[in-house]
């Protein structure tokens, strides 16, 4: 029958499309043993970060972001704070688009200390970054939720003698909540709980099979002393692929302490009205 003649080849083609092409290709090499690969988690590294965050208001819409982070890590004898690992200097100019949205653009100078006792490399190396960030806030009942997108362009160098500066891009997304515990809102005198999670992806010539640089799961307990000053402390578990081998994962436990300060450098007469951006 004519119709059968027309339909049959299509049915055959459809059936073939479900056949695994790899399997069909593998057919001739069926006897070759495939090497089984498993991911491997390195031993946990314990760290302690002391971070200061400054948002210094310089005009109605502009603010200067000034952050200094002191990051320590364990030695064989001292957990968490055995040695200094990095000193971070992050600066930027931020722009308040409206009460719930702000953007920032700036640079980072990071000082990396050589923490490997067996390394022959230099003791200290700088790392440079350009970064820009887009933050969106939204109220959820009495709490606040934040979405933060941060993109970093990064020039870094490892401590090997022959290592050169390499360029990578980082793409970071963080979701964070700040939940007031003892007050109806985030206000002076409020303790708040801030669970957060961040995914850091990377790209670059040297990034071959390790795009997931870091996944950070962190919870912080904070206290708002005044609108100008907040302190917080928390614990973070993080893991991510090593650059050299995507199947090998770093793991870290990090105690973090934060001080948030936000002075206002504007003259009194320029402060008012300070809150109506786009109402």
């Amino acid at each position: 029958m004519l119709s059968q003649k027309i339909i049959s080849p299509f049915l055959v083609l459809l059936a073939l499309s479900f056949v695994n092409p790899v399997m069909s290709q593998d057919e001739p090499d069926a006897e070759v043993e495939v090497e089984e690969r498993y991911s491997k988690f390195k031993e946990v590294k314990r760290k302690f970060w002391f971070n200061t965050y400054g948002n210094i208001r310089i005009s109605k819409r502009l603010f200067w972001i000034a952050q200094t982070h002191l990051r320590f890590e364990e030695t064989s004898t001292t957990p968490y704070v055995g040695q200094i690992a990095q000193i971070y200097n992050r600066h930027a100019i931020g722009y308040i688009y409206d009460k719930k949205t702000n953007f920032a653009l700036g640079g980072v100078l990071r000082l990396n200390f050589n923490t490997d006792p067996d390394s022959e490399g230099p003791n200290l190396l700088p790392e440079y970054r350009i970064w820009h960030q887009y933050q969106f806030a939204m109220p959820v009942y009495s709490a606040m939720a934040y979405h933060r997108l941060r993109i970093e362009h990064r020039w870094s160098k490892s401590f090997g003698e022959e290592d050169e500066f390499i360029f990578r891009n980082r793409y970071r997304y963080m979701f964070r909540l700040k939940i007031p515990l003892n007050k109806p809102a985030l206000q002076p005198g409020a303790f708040y709980l801030a669970p957060e999670s961040e995914l850091i992806l990377q790209s670059g010539k040297q990034v071959i099979d390790s795009p997931v640089e870091d996944v950070r799961l962190n919870t912080t307990l904070g206290y708002i002393l005044s609108p100008r000053l907040t302190v917080a402390a928390g614990f973070m578990y993080s893991f991510g692929q090593t650059l050299d081998d995507g199947s090998v994962y770093n793991q870290n436990y990090t105690f973090r302490m934060h001080v948030y300060f936000s002075p206002d450098l504007r003259k009194v007469k320029n402060k008012l009205p300070s809150i109506h951006f786009r109402d």
Binding site: K99, N102, A137, Y146, K178, P188, I224, P227, Y260, S274
Partner: protein, 653 residues
Amino acid sequence: MEKLPSKSGSFRLPFFILKTKRFWCAWFLTLFSSLCPAQQIYEGHYEVDDFSGTATYTYTLKEGDTLKNGPFSFQHSSQENLDPIEIKGQFKNNIPVGLWEYTRGNYIPHEEKEFVDFSYVTKLDGVKESIKGNYLEGVPDSIWTIEVDSIRGSKLAANQFKSAITYKQGIPQLSFTIETAKNLLAGRLLRNGYAHDTWTLFTKDGIDELENWVFDNAVLKEVRIRINDSVNKEIAFDLEGVEDVELIDLDENYLTIMEFALQDRDTTHVFDHGLSSLLKENAAHQHQVEHTMAGLGAAVKMASMKVQVPRYDLSREEEKNLDAIAEHYQKSQSITNTVLSDTRLILKKLTDQEVALYYNAAEDIQQRYLKELGKLLRYREDKVVRYIERDVLIKGLWPSGLPPRVVVSKDTSGREIPYPIQTDLTYSSEADNLQEVEKMANFVQTVLSEIQDKLGLSPDASKSQNDFNSTEEELVTQATQLKTHIDSIATIQRDDIKKTLLALQENTDQQLQQYALTAQDSVEAKGRKARELNTCFTQKRELVDLLIQIPDQQQKLKEEYTEEVYVIFTATIMDEQVKKRIINAYKEQILPYLLKQVQEGLSCSEIQAWITTYEAVQDRLYQLRKEDTGRLERKLKREDDPREVLKLLGITQ
């Protein structure tokens, strides 16, 4: 009216006029009006509910009686009064018909006037109450609404109370609502006005059910009260087994009856708040309309939702007991009024131990015995007593038994001492029948008569104080008013203000005591001192009024020194206290220092100066908010002497 001269008159009506329609119309109208009673208009002074005003209405005279017919309006308002009343409606043969509107207000004028369109206008704050609905041949018919609104700056600020009840031929029926700013009550009535089904009190957002009252054919079966999200309190009622039941109106008396019936099962006083308070307020407004209409000679019934209650008729014996209690009570009340309002005694009790003993004993009797006896008699007047079992009634009025047969007095220094009772009359504290209450009332009257005799007062003694100095009388009245005022407001104040007020009260007692001592010296000194104290008490009253404003003023000041700050870290607005050192210096040093001065006792001459200083501090603080105060704040940091702090602020005391 055109007059038609008779045939014998000086001129005749032309014949062709008889043929015109106009002539016959005029003729019929003349005939009709001469047969009907004449309608007359009244416009002038009129009194309603003890308020005088002006009324306009039309009326007819029929057999010597005035029958209101047609529109009626009454107004009680003038430039001076701030409680205007307006009533508008219609009568037909003295029976209210059609739409009626009752509006009342109670306002306080602003202190400052505003200049508007070339005239000075005083704005008002207060409450406006308006009730409206239709009457059909003297009974409410249609939807009747009651609204109470708060007025701020002469504008409608918020609705405080609103009820809407449908009447048909005088009987409330269908579903009704009563709402306040926070809650909403929805209930249902049968065609005969019986309370029926579940009545629910919601929060205003309609989410939470706070109370449910379940009625079945006018019988309240169950009350469910929400304690919290997961706990409800359920109270069941039962009329089964009760021999006599009666239908009564659902008003405050019904709620009193239910409260008594419930008291030994539940201590939360279900019928004192919540859904009850809405029903009570509604009934109070309805009674007001009934009262007003009775005053206009047209009795109406508004509060007529029906509920069923058990009835326990009073026996002849019990009626007799109540009659006797009423008689003892009236006599006792008359004696205590005479004693406690006698200004001579008020002064004398401060220095004379004997007078103190009798006077303070009378005061104790009034507090411990007469108050509750008065309540019992009011319940009788309201016809509530017959619906409450007598033992339950007595237990409700005196939960821990009748007051013991002891009278506590005080000496001149305010120390408690027992009053030596002379009469042998006794009663049992544990009894729960009216017979014992009567015995107690008799005992009370006898003790009061003893006191009256000892004080040498005749029943109308207060009227025969011819030699009594009017300045002195005014002085005692002023002091009593001041002390009562402080008593009524002190308890709700925060601690530092309360302490200051009570110190002022004590100081007033001391001043009166000193005066009573001076009064024994010479008439001249007495008169001078009385005048001084008069002025002093006036200033003290001013000081008391100022003191109770301090927390509010402090709050306003705090708000003045508060700024809203946008915090980028949280993307929220937070309040920030600015110039903290100034506001703290006021809170922690100046204000306690100033209050301490009052607590330690200001002399009469110092009161005005104190008020001036306090006001100067307030003004200065408002000024400083706008000034550059960096230097001052640094100096304040080092200063902890309040006098120096005042100097730094530029205030001299």
